[in-house]
Symmetry: C2
Subunit: 159 residues, 2 copies
DNA sequence: ACTGAAAATTCTCTGGC
DNA sequence: GCCAGAGAATTTTCAGT
């Protein structure tokens, strides 16, 4: 690992950690046929260089009572810089809004909202989204089945 | 933690682990003013009961060369059970498709595709998506800015 | 469910290659 | 950049309350 170019070992470590963030240096070392201290040093470097941005425990969304996930496509009235900034700042503040992306196409923003139930969703729409001045139109797409949700990027022919 | 009802400590542990999956029992114990072994026992139970579904290390998507994220809304021709099942099985198999949701509304499926660059995206469309018989229409929404991507569910007034 | 102590394992630092 | 050794810290088990 000379500077900012990842070699195969770096990619292997990242790939393994994307599958299980709690792997120990020893466990990674065993899989890659290296020494634990070597893995430890690379892990620290990957973290220092900003490749690794923290780890999270994935939990069963429905089991903890967050039964409803919704994708909402949003169109704005005013697309000037200041108006865009304000919308982003405000939408980001809602805890129901888990994800928000500025996109190209017919739609300006794609957001993912996760709430307990339809009542909570209605509250979000009526009390929050509908009151945002710059929102021209939105369409809700309720998730009825999660076919795939892979959060680990494939790093095979890369970097 | 009697059986399947989460108490405040359980929710606290889950919340902390959603922020950092690598927290040790000792670290969690210190934050919650409990003993490490108590946290350890609860951690094992939460895992055994299926609340915790594994951990992942988050990495800098653009830094590792995955420069392009796209949401694609897909409409199908045939909505019968067998056709739906086949579509889901096939779309799931593509490594470029990170997420796929069956949704209500004008759109049948929302998928998130992550690739290196526009060339890789073109290849995915031309060689894969366009060749799926049951796909009637699709619209691409390129992510030009990620405003928010929160993966930890808020468990405050819940369960 | 929680505690406390002990054993096994891992982390983390230092120095040498 | 890799490896080895050793002390410190942690994980994990287990018996007791």
């Amino acid at each position: 690992m000379s500077s900012h170019i990842l070699d195969q070992t770096d990619r292997d470590i990242i790939s393994l950690l994307q599958q299980d963030a709690r792997l120990s240096s020893k466990e990674i070392a065993a899989k890659l046929r290296k020494r634990p201290t070597t893995i430890f040093a690379r892990f620290n470097k990957l973290k220092a260089l900003g490749y690794l941005k923290g780890s999270i425990m994935l939990i069963d969304r429905e089991k903890v009572g967050m039964l409803m996930a919704v994708f909402i496509n949003i169109q704005l009235n005013d697309h000037h810089a200041e108006a865009l900034y304000e919308f982003q700042r405000d939408i980001k503040a809602y805890s129901e809004v888990m994800e928000c992306y500025h996109t190209t196409g017919q739609v300006d923003f794609v957001i993912k909202v996760v709430v307990q139930d339809m009542l909570a969703y209605k509250d979000f729409l009526v009390q929050n989204l509908s009151k945002m001045q710059n929102v021209k139109a939105y369409t809700s797409h309720f998730v009825i089945n999660e076919i795939k949700r892979e959060l680990a990027y494939p790093l095979d022919n890369l970097v």
